[in-house]
């Protein structure tokens, strides 16, 4: 379905220090660096998969997406999507894909959203009946029935983003690329968008490739994650297994009225302020129930909570582990 083999891409970047003199010097002598944005990137994604593509800022996520969309051509390497090479067969390739760039807009600013939709209908040559049913479905699911009659300039970011997502799906794409789709959304909209993406993946078998910095998105949506850092693929695997590896450590937050905190083997104090302590627990050494029993023996506990590692923390430790 989607296959990348040893894709490389370099960018030329000009750099100079701050200041007037430096600016003048740069007029005569420009310092250029070549940055390896992508360095032998290879992976394979099957039909109907939902993949989280993560990595810190500047890791090469957007470049990969752009190559897969046919906007950018790589320096070397192969990329085939549905048997087509995106940048060579751009027009045929893009018929089957939908793209949401969270930081850009595809809607016409001065006219109601629905006008932009109708333009897309004609561009993608969508049948009137398909268009009507898709529009109906999308506007109910994303809750934008009234919003789409408003000019884009009068919409809030969250409202607009939901329209952007709908716009990318009107033509029933087989593959959906989402580049930070939940950027700037409120909690309710985020959940709506997530549910929606899960839905179309399940029902339409749409392949979804998602890049985001919001780890809750990743947790809610994807099973498989691909980690990229400094242009290299560092990890490609199941989020569940990864989580298991990192959940040997749990975190206990305990609030207590009186007593002194005494810690047995397997418990380490992370933080303690005014009757509130955060304790790390190593499940290899002590079980959760034993730990709670141990704690409540010495303390008059008001509140206690146990948390596993969040995807966020996994990613932070991954970034640390790979030094990116």
């Amino acid at each position: 379905m989607i296959e990348l083999q040893n894709v490389c891409k370099t960018f030329k970047v000009t750099r100079r220090n701050a200041g007037f003199l430096e600016a003048v010097r740069a007029m005569f002598h420009k310092k250029c660096d070549y940055i390896k944005a992508l360095d032998n990137v290879s992976f394979k994604i099957n039909e109907g998969e939902m993949v989280g593509y993560i990595g810190p800022n500047g890791a090469g996520k957007s470049s990969t997406i752009k190559i897969m969309c046919g906007i950018l051509s790589p320096k070397s390497g192969l990329c085939t999507i549905n048997g087509l090479i995106p940048w060579k067969d751009r027009i045929r390739h893009v018929r089957d894909i939908g793209v949401v760039f969270g930081q850009r807009s595809q809607l016409w600013w001065d006219v109601p959203v629905v006008d932009s939709f109708e333009l897309l209908r004609d561009i993608y040559k969508i049948e009137e009946t398909t268009y009507k049913s898709n529009l109906n479905k999308l506007s109910t699911l994303l809750d934008i029935e009234t919003i789409i009659k408003t000019p884009v300039r009068q919409l809030s970011l969250g409202q607009r983003m939901r329209c952007e997502i709908a716009a990318s799906l009107l033509h029933n794409p087989k593959i959906l690329f989402l580049d930070e789709p939940t950027i700037g959304l409120d909690a309710v909209s985020k959940i709506a968008v997530r549910n929606f993406i899960t839905n179309i993946n399940r029902e339409e078998k749409t392949t979804v490739i998602l890049t985001t910095h919001d780890m809750q998105d990743i947790e809610a949506l994807t099973k498989r994650i691909i980690l990229i850092g400094k242009g290299k693929i560092l990890l490609d695997g199941d989020l569940g297994t990864l989580k298991k590896q990192y959940t040997e450590q749990k975190k206990i937050t305990v609030e207590y009225a009186e007593g002194t905190l005494s810690l047995c083997d397997g418990l380490t104090l992370l933080e303690s302020i005014h009757g509130r302590a955060i304790i790390a627990l190593d499940t290899n050494k002590i079980s959760v129930s034993n730990a709670i029993a141990e704690l409540s023996r010495n303390l008059e506990v008001l509140d206690i909570s146990v948390a596993g590692t969040t995807a966020e923390e996994i990613v932070v430790s991954l970034y640390k582990e790979y030094q990116i």
């Binding site: 960018f11 800022n57 957007s62 752009k66 969309c69 046919g70 906007i71 950018l72 051509s73 940048w87 751009r90 027009i91 045929r92 893009v94 018929r95 894909i97 793209v99 760039f101 930081q103 850009r104 807009s105 595809q106 016409w108 001065d110 006219v111 006008d115 932009s116 109708e118 333009l119 209908r121 004609d122 561009i123 993608y124 040559k125």
Partner: protein
């Protein structure tokens, strides 16, 4: 084809929204037209015979120029296209199963036409009722009128095809402003927007007439006022077609090259 028509429609409708801009434009164009005519009148009064066209012909030329200004003013650009290139928003346009050159071409045609429908008719009507020699006279005959319409259409497309080259230059420079200002001033001069080309000295005139810029407004307006006979009219239409085809071929070629090396700016 339908996608281009639809694209045309959304841009056209978008352009029709700016009605007060159109009223203001009409007023400006009347004022400008009268000023130009009065200036020429001062010259003509010294010796009516020493000019390449009669004052009636000149009046028609000036009013046509004002009426169809939105078709031929070189400095009217779609700023969103420049913005899309410099900010990287072009990413979305490249994700559509559509030829970017054609899409931008249509977009320019549509926005200029939406301006001209609101502005040209009032100017033409009022111009027709102005007392001679300050008003527009009718074309000499039907053949001339048909030649005029053909030439006007091609001339308009030649201008858009030329402007496309300036949009494409934005792929190669970080800021397109320099090229924009330079090329616009050149077009205004070479196309006869400042002074009609027949008024230029003979040596330069011959060169100017062959350049693509003379195939913009100069050709149709001269045909209308009957300054050129049929043979000349057919020649200038053929020259227009030549330039239109050449500019489109050059533009499409450069666009293809630009898209291959395009760096979509920003994350």
């Amino acid at each position: 084809m339908r996608k281009y028509i639809s694209f045309f429609r959304i841009r056209f409708v978008n352009g029709l929204q700016y009605r007060s801009a159109a009223y203001a434009g009409i007023v400006t164009q009347f004022a400008w037209g009268f000023m130009t005519l009065l200036m020429f009148w001062a010259f003509y009064k010294s010796d009516m015979k020493s000019f390449p066209m009669t004052f009636e012909q000149l009046s028609s030329y000036i009013w046509l120029q004002q009426a169809f200004l939105s078709l031929f003013m070189a400095w009217l650009f779609e700023n969103e296209i420049f913005a899309a290139i410099t900010s990287g928003n072009i990413a979305y346009e490249l994700c559509r199963p559509i030829n970017v050159y054609n899409m931008w071409f249509i977009r320019n045609v549509a926005s200029r036409l939406s301006k001209v429908v609101l502005r040209s008719i009032p100017i033409l009507v009022v111009g027709a009722f102005l007392p001679s020699p300050f008003g527009i006279s009718l074309p000499v005959n039907w053949v001339t009128a048909i030649f005029f319409i053909i030439s006007l259409t091609i001339g308009f497309l030649v201008l858009v095809a030329f402007n496309m080259l300036i949009y494409i230059s934005a792929f190669y420079t970080v800021s397109p402003i320099g090229i924009r200002i330079l090329s616009v001033s050149l077009v205004e001069l070479f196309a006869g927007a400042v002074i009609p080309i027949p008024f230029l000295p003979n040596g330069i005139k011959v060169i100017f007439e062959l350049l693509p810029f003379a195939s913009m407004q100069n050709a149709p307006f001269l045909i209308y006022i009957g300054n050129s006979d049929y043979k000349n009219a057919i020649f200038s239409i053929l020259l227009q077609i030549f330039w239109l085809v050449s500019l489109i071929i050059i533009g499409k070629f450069l666009m293809k090259k630009a898209l291959r090396k395009v760096v979509v700016q920003g994350g």
